[in-house]
């Protein structure tokens, strides 16, 4: 492979930079100016749809029917938001999504890290099999199993009026169980955790063992604190997956009180039909929480990704 010829496996050392001539420096400055310009254009293009969403969400509905429509809304109509909120219970939807996403984040962090740690740092029978299974699971798209999972949830024994054999009632359908349990642990998160833990120093574990720290203690108190960005990355990714989940909640919930925000938006689309100003206000409400969360945590997130060793 080309990599082998080019990569001397020597530890990176802060090499002394050769002195540069001024013309080279000017060239460099020009180049970074160009890079900056490209970046500005690219990121504006990436953000344009969101800007358009935000602009449309404060537009007067009469403007939407005007041809040509002024690009910038003539006046700020925040009533669109209050109206959207009054037309559909976005508060309940958001609360449900928050519960679902938080549960996904907590469960994935707790159980995913446990399994990831064991796979990365512990020798136990079946470890290779478990790792192989997890990797295989990553390959299996949820959509390939969605129908059986649906049937399993519906026939969950002793729930929702079901008998011990899972017949007769509705099982977990339209309950929190159905929303949370089947997707509680993602094999991808286990895999990510394994990557984080692999990068931690094994000597630390050996030393702790000699000091008589229990295996569980080593995992919780010694190694795990080292991968804080990793924990945060998984928490954020799981939260995001939970918040953005659509098909599954669509299938297993029927009552309004369990409806999550993405399903809410899709049914609001039917309800508000052609009122794009309301639809965009609703969509903004559904999109903004994740954006804020990411803005707050983005630094750790990028760090976490870098630490995961996916490269």
């Amino acid at each position: 492979m080309a990599t082998d010829t080019l990569s001397p496996r020597t530890p990176a050392a802060p090499a002394a930079r050769p002195p540069r001539s001024t013309s080279l420096r000017r060239q460099k400055r020009l180049a970074s100016g160009g890079v900056l310009a490209v970046l500005i254009i690219a990121s504006l293009l990436m953000a344009a749809p969101f800007l358009w969403m935000a602009l449309s969400s404060i537009r007067d509905p009469t403007e939407l029917a005007k041809v040509p429509m002024p690009l910038i809304p003539q006046d700020l109509r925040l009533e669109n938001y209050t109206e959207a909120l009054s037309r559909a219970p976005f508060g309940i939807y958001a609360r449900n999504s928050l519960i679902l996403a938080t549960a996904a984040a907590v469960l994935n962090v707790v159980f995913g890290s446990a399994c990831g740690y064991a796979l990365a740092k512990m020798r136990f029978p079946l470890a290779p099999a478990v790792f192989g299974w997890m990797v295989a699971c990553i390959m299996i798209p949820f959509y390939a199993t969605v129908i059986p999972v649906f049937l399993m949830v519906r026939h969950m024994p002793l729930f929702g009026g079901n008998t011990i054999l899972g017949a007769g009632g509705t099982g977990w359908i339209d309950t929190w169980w159905a929303l949370i349990v089947p997707g509680a642990i993602s094999p991808f998160m286990v895999f990510l955790f394994r990557q984080f833990y692999v990068a931690t120093p094994t000597e630390l574990i050996e030393a702790a063992r000699l000091d008589g720290v229990s295996e569980f203690g080593i995992y919780t108190r010694i190694v795990t604190p080292l991968i804080k960005p990793g924990l945060l990355t998984v928490a954020l990714l799981s939260f995001e997956a939970g918040w953005n989940n659509f098909l599954w909640p669509l299938l297993v919930t029927t009552s309004d009180s369990l409806r999550v925000i993405q399903v809410g938006i899709s049914s609001f689309r039917q309800e508000a039909a052609t009122d794009w100003h309301l639809l965009m206000a609703g969509t903004t409400l559904a999109a903004v929480p994740m954006i804020i969360l990411f803005l707050v945590f983005q630094r750790y997130f990028v760090e976490g990704f870098a630490a995961s060793g996916i490269k």
Partner: protein
């Protein structure tokens, strides 16, 4: 550590056992419906209790308040039965019902469309409705055709959506056209004559058509065809009238008098409203948008309405879509569900409901209602109710056919399949679905 190894072991053993039962349960999940338990529509109000669920694709947006306040509230007050409403869009209704059935949670009163009754009756999801009650309502035979399966009634029309043609008289006059088309050939000639100067002769496929499938079905009946045989076991849509219907649309598209790309953008006036189309398929449901966006079209004589002329020398036809009420055979409160259905069919309630949704009551015999009387489209539809023979469905296999038919017709109209290929595809699709009943 609060959890001992033993408990974990026991727990995981239990999970494994659970998994095994689940596999078994998931495979043998045949919850058979209870055999036809007749619905009793004569239970006195005082004997009704509990609550029921209503699944409806109508009563969207502003129409929701009248449903809650003027339709359900009086019922709850009279009977003490509370009604919870589940509103879902038309094109998600089928999934809603199927996941509901699969999940074991399904509303007691279900509102569906033309063509839905037979499939769900065949599957045992809809309960039979006593014929004497239906006959006592005095509805026109044309609106009852799609409520029957194997000679029994399984649904009742609650609202109709009728489609016919509308023209801009001035645009026609400008070209010297004064007569209404008496045949599809004449309509074609007219449409071609009217095309040009940024105007499309006939807007047939955008908004009001509902879907490519329904546009095809309308013409199929205009050419004297029908979708299925009487018993619903033999497809007929691929026969000569079907060929003529497809060819008629293709010819118009190639002449330019129908523009496939002419689409009604959501929230925008339709091409006909913008006077970009001289003739248009018009649905009774258009009235609401007309009054809001182009009130000038709502004046007497502003739009000339007529039925779809026949292509086979017969009577003109009108397309009938609608919303039909059915009772779930899985309902645990059938008496209350039946009472609610009766309530929905009360002439006064029919008036209130259809005024709210902008649809047409299934009978002209509703108490005077300003909104219904003021809609010229509704009035035209009601006057021509006996012509409302163009209906889709008619086979227990239709739910499987429905959405696939859209793709097949669209493929033909966009020149991606020949007419013969399209007819073959239609036949194969229907035959396959029917063979699985």
């Amino acid at each position: 550590m609060p959890v001992s190894r033993r408990t974990l072991l026991t727990a995981s053993g239990a999970i494994a056992a659970g998994a095994a039962t689940l596999t078994a349960a998931a495979c043998g999940s045949g919850g058979e419906m209870d055999p036809e338990e007749p619905v009793d529509l004569d239970v006195p109000d005082s004997a009704l209790t509990g609550s029921i669920g209503l699944l409806t694709p109508d009563f969207v947006g502003d129409a929701r308040a009248p449903l809650d306040e003027e339709i359900i509230a009086p019922f709850t007050e009279r009977t003490g039965v509370s009604v919870s409403v589940d509103q879902v869009d038309w094109n998600k209704l089928n999934e809603k019902i199927s996941t509901g059935i699969a999940g074991g949670i399904i509303a007691d009163v279900i509102m569906t469309g033309v063509g839905w009754t037979q499939p769900f009756a065949e599957k045992g999801i809809f309960a039979e409705i006593p014929a004497d009650f239906i006959e006592s309502l005095g509805f026109d035979e044309s609106v009852l055709v799609s409520t029957r399966f194997e000679g029994k009634y399984y649904s009742l029309p609650q609202a109709l959506d009728l489609r016919f043609l509308g023209t801009h008289p001035d645009l026609l006059a400008a070209r010297g056209i004064t007569e209404r088309p008496a045949s599809l050939d004449e309509l074609a000639a007219m449409a071609l004559e009217l095309t040009g100067d940024g105007v499309v002769g006939l807007d047939y496929l955008s908004g009001s058509a509902g879907s490519a499938r329904q546009a095809f079905v309308f013409l199929l009946y205009a050419f004297g065809g029908c979708m299925f045989s009487e018993d619903g076991l033999t497809p007929m849509l691929h026969e000569e009238p079907g060929r003529l219907a497809l060819q008629w649309m293709l010819d118009r598209i190639s002449e330019g008098s129908i523009d496939y790309d002419l689409q009604a953008a959501e929230g925008q006036p339709s091409p006909f409203q913008q006077r970009k189309a001289a003739i248009s398929l018009v649905s009774t449901g258009n009235w609401v948008t007309w009054t809001q966006m182009t009130p000038e079209l709502c004046e007497e004589g502003a739009v000339d309405l007529h039925l779809m002329p026949s292509g086979a020398g017969g009577d003109p036809v009108m397309f009938q879509g609608g919303t039909f009420l059915s009772l779930s055979s899985l309902s645990k409160n059938k008496d209350a569900a039946g009472a609610f259905m009766k309530h929905m069919l009360d002439p006064e309630i029919l008036g209130i409901a259809n005024a709210a949704t902008g649809k047409v009551p299934p009978t002209p015999d509703v108490p005077p209602n300003e909104q219904i009387e003021s809609s010229l489209l509704t009035q035209f539809g009601l006057q021509n109710l006996p012509y409302a023979g163009a209906t889709e469905g008619g086979s227990a296999a239709y739910m499987e056919v429905r959405t696939n038919l859209d793709g097949i017709v669209e493929t033909c109209l966009t020149g991606r399949a020949s007419v013969q290929q399209t007819l073959d595809d239609m036949k194969a699709l229907c035959d396959g679905a029917i063979s699985r009943i």
